[in-house]
Symmetry: D2
């Protein structure tokens, strides 16, 4: 069996059965189930597909990782079960790339072993995420460390996280892309406060899928917990986002593929009158056919872009990276919407299928990691040859 | 001040302030606030806009009612505050039209006075809502009454309702549109069970906005509680839906108009960089411009159809009634989606604006009261001259 | 019979029969047929619906004119047959509003009697039509007249026209909206040259529907042929465009209505297999249903805007005027596209129906008189309260 | 240089310079220019890319052919210049696959050498192209030959063709897919009449791009001119269409790629005001960005399908073949439409760019070789597992 096939078998045996409890928000049952699934994943060599084997991961190329990620995307719990959910996966990649041996020992290894969780503090309520160089959080030198003060939100997974990777401005008057620096801040550091979990689209606010508002009030961070060079925050964030967008896009491909499967199954089974299945209707057929074509095309586009990143680097491939983010999010949302419509009232329910969950929560796909409009400008400027 | 202007002032003074508690799901605060708002509405002559003055209502034409309904639609609590929320409003219209004096005394008057709530049991999980004549709930003659057995879901507002208007097949072998009859069934009747409140798109399941699964197991209903003639169920349901769709469509117009206001306000205030408001961006401008045009056109279409219903009756206007349902739902959803996108991360939150609430719950607008595809067929068949 | 009914009867009896010759580009047959139709129109009181009775027109309100215009729009020859085609209709309105008695005698009356045709020289190849105050054509004082030099294109109907209303900059350093002035220039004036008829979307280049490139080389224009005050060109053009957009939009409504009729007829008659009409297919039904709803909504929007112009003037209604231009053009093009698709190969032919003609030539509806993007900005800026 | 690079250089040097004459319909100039370009193509080894080297072609895989085809698609004259235009290319493939040595000698070799042209007679005006087994043309045995009688249209390139491959029913009562047989009929055979060239979207009706209506009145065809087995017509047509759709789709990719280049160039050069290029506008940027993403995705999808055809055959890949036809046609039309809009009035002209030509003539891409709706049904039925 190929890796994607093995992953598919794992997903169907150990993850999909957890969905009813997940959709019904039965926390304890989900936590226990995910714990068991993670043990199976680790024992089966399906753990941390985004990491090299030396760190206990699957040691995949970015393209192979993408194929596996699409399988995991079929369930809202897939990535968590294999310890490659956002933002942990991105933080592991970041620490792997930019962390000192000491930082890797303290932060990366526990993450890679699934012993702790982490979060990423970048977006601020006062500033648009579309302008990443406009940020109020400040870190000022203080002896052999820094004093960090700021206000973050949409800090995913802060609930239960051990530490937060925080972006802070260290040189407010520097060139825009050299102003910020990254720091690793333990969530129990004095002055680090999770203000609240944000009420996102009717979601229960807890655990890995929660999104927090966070305040840092004069938090002292030793210079040893600075991640990467001073002023390198923006560059590291960009490097984190390159493969990160492949992860997201392939997860969305997985969502779209499962949504299409659910659409087809519904069209086959639901009868509008005795003997007259929904699938006989040409509008439903058009949802199926266009979804099929669009998903296949988007999948090839993302995998091709993954290959390009491996060949030329995320920076040189940045136009294509922007293109897949813009394109795939819309394809996924459209397919989910069609599948929901085909389910009628049942499509509105947080039970039976994850369609309503995706409809609600994946709407954010057109917003986070650069809203559609940001990617439009990135692509257009590059093609137009604008500065 | 015109009625819509008075209603707008009432809404802004007494209803919008309740939205934060509503979105945060602080039940008791909402209940208390809505109670106070209802007292104001009644005292101000803004009570039951859908009823004649003789029943304590505003005595409006369908067109004037539509104008008022658009104002109320600006808030998820608007219609409730004036006692014209679904399904109570439709049930009042039904009892007013088809109820005996005794039934009106027992059911209509308490509803019209806001003393009780009601629900409507039509949709069944086993059968598509798009085929209203295919139904399993049965009512069989038993002495001077009926024995009703069946299974319903999406019974809106069942939680807390005093009675349910139930559609049941009384003549399974009759002509399709003459098979069913309506009954008023108290929710405490032996055999009437609210199985559960359905988990709809992350909604808290309680009160007027909840949707229940209901079972009727051999419920005895005296013939005096039969609503309308035997076999008239389908006809009465259709008559209920004609004006009912005007109500829904004008509520959606109100949602769209408020969403556009929120979009414009966001575009004006949010800065992408110091001094560079979001509204300078041409994509955002295109959302504003097309929303403006589409909302105005849809509003005129719905009001024109309301006038047609008054002139020729809901039956003769049924193609236009189908057209407004199909058309307005999509316009509203598109505007809400644009407004949400313009809000970025904040648009995903159940706070600040009702956009996330509408995004989630008004998705059902393309499903209930006839899914899009049903209306497509209704309109096309009429234009094609098909039987 | 109402005016629209009378117009419909005229159209069907005297104009539709000319379409085969028109689509086949049999000039002489068309010219002769249109000549006869014009005689009938004039004799029947269906002449110049846009003019007051004192000028031999129908003396209609703008709303009533719109209703009539939608009927005429059903055929590419409709407006020509009643002497209200662009740009003659707009020029007549302009001369009626801004012309001196002498100018009206010389230019308006022959136009209103259908004895001559005219054209309008505004757009320049070197400058975007979307920026009407950026123009190179210059008029400089010379004795009791002006010397006009410039380059125009898309000068509709120049072929065969007696005169051209020309926009020229008279005060290059004045406030942007006060720089230009209008002049009436006979097409046989020395220095006025029709360079060529533009090759527009495969059209034969002749007669009223042709679009010319024109040069003015030091053309002498007596001050008596100045139309309106010096510097008033832009204001007059705007005033001309207000009702002019109602004319265009209602013509497009007529196109869309006829296209929907053709779509329905095709769906009814074309069989995909013996006994299986195209209209049984749900995608075709969705084209019919959404077209029906969108056309009705757009029609109401345009008529409502016509009423607003009559009440408050074109300037105060300019946001709505922009909205109908933006909205109606797209609705019309979508309906034409659906109808064409339903006709299969036959839809590609310049025979049988005017669908291919409209598909080609009405694509310009999103470009002339302000491209979509211009109207987007007009509407958005007004709603945003921008200067 | 790779083959696509060599082809691109050839195209830019020898084909693009012919476009002005082509768009202006200067026949003789085009004919002479194409003749010279064909000589260059043949001398440069860029001749008949769809044929094996043994037949004088480039001997490419289907994928490599696709890459080359996208380059040729950049100009309306590209395929003609390399002797791989429709329907000649498909006829060559058909004769190569199914022709007898004698047939290949008489028909294939002259075609492959560019000495003659051919046409393909399948579609009938009385029957929908979407139902290929419903056809009226009949061939009846008569001695050692057949008598063929029927009526065809959209017989592309009949003007000037030496022979026509004709589909005719030979067994009206046989199984639907075994009723028809193919025949090669010289266009000068007695009874074969080109009734007329169809007036397609304003096109001049002559030469390779014309579409004829054809009648066969009791045309005698010797059995030696039967192409393939009796009853194999439908199967051969399907086999011809499999790679044929790759050809069309890659040609459309080429059109879309050139249209995007034209869009970008226009956005860069056109100024809305001095110093304010069109490309600064976010709507224009969104056309560029979404076009870029969609074209790349569609290109990968078509090439992936070409590879599948090579691996498993056109029959096994038929769902994907349907998907690329449905998907790519729409992508191409949308990009052309955006590019046209960006050009404003100039976009409507048959000069400067081929955008207006493509807008008109490539609209047929959603109709021929199976209308969109046919492919929707093919894909959906396969996914639904319907018979």
């Amino acid at each position: 069996m190929t890796d994607p096939e093995r992953m598919r078998a794992f997903l169907e045996a150990h993850v999909l059965p957890l969905e009813p409890a997940f959709l019904a928000d039965r926390h304890d049952e989900v936590d226990a189930g995910v714990g068991r699934a993670r043990e199976v994943a680790r024992a089966s060599g399906l753990w941390c597909p985004h990491l090299p084997a030396s760190l206990g991961g699957m040691g995949l190329s970015l393209v192979a990782l993408g194929e596996v990620g699409a399988v995991l995307g079929r369930s809202p719990l897939g990535h968590l079960a294999c310890n490659c959910n956002a933002p942990d996966a991105g933080n592991m990649e970041l620490l792997h790339r930019a962390g000192t041996p000491d930082q890797q020992e303290r932060w990366l290894h526990p993450l890679a072993q699934g012993l702790v969780r982490s979060c990423f503090g970048m977006t601020e309520p006062e500033h648009p995420g579309s302008n990443p160089v406009w940020m109020s959080t400040r870190a000022e030198r203080d002896g052999d460390g820094w004093r960090v003060t700021g206000h973050k939100w949409f800090t995913t997974g802060a609930d239960g996280a051990s530490f937060c990777v925080v972006m802070a401005v260290t040189d407010p008057d520097g060139p825009p892309h050299a102003r910020a620096t990254m720091f690793v801040v333990p969530t129990d550091a004095p002055g680090f406060t999770k203000v609240r979990d944000l009420p996102v689209m009717g979601a229960p606010s807890r655990g890995p899928a929660s999104h927090a508002e966070v305040r840092l009030d004069d938090v002292w961070v030793p210079d040893a917990d600075r991640l990467g060079p001073v002023g390198a925050g923006f560059r590291l964030a960009q490097e984190r986002l390159g493969p990160g967008r492949i992860h997201h896009c392939m997860r969305w491909i997985g969502i779209a593929e499962r949504a299409l499967d659910l659409l087809v199954a519904r069209a086959r089974q639901r009868e509008l009158a005795p003997g007259a299945p929904l699938g006989n209707k040409q509008l439903v057929q058009s949802w199926i056919a266009t979804s099929y074509a669009r998903i296949r095309a988007a999948r090839l586009l993302v995998l091709d872009t993954a290959a390009r990143i491996e060949q030329v680097g995320a920076r040189a491939a940045r136009v294509d990276v922007a293109a897949i983010k813009l394109h795939t999010a819309q394809v996924m949302l459209d397919v989910v919407d069609h599948a929901l419509q085909a389910h009628g009232g049942a499509g509105m329910l947080d039970e039976g299928t994850p369609l309503a969950w995706w409809y609600r929560h994946e709407r954010a796909a057109r917003i986070y990691d650069g809203a559609d409009e940001v990617h439009v400008e990135t692509i257009a400027r590059a093609l137009l040859g604008a500065p």
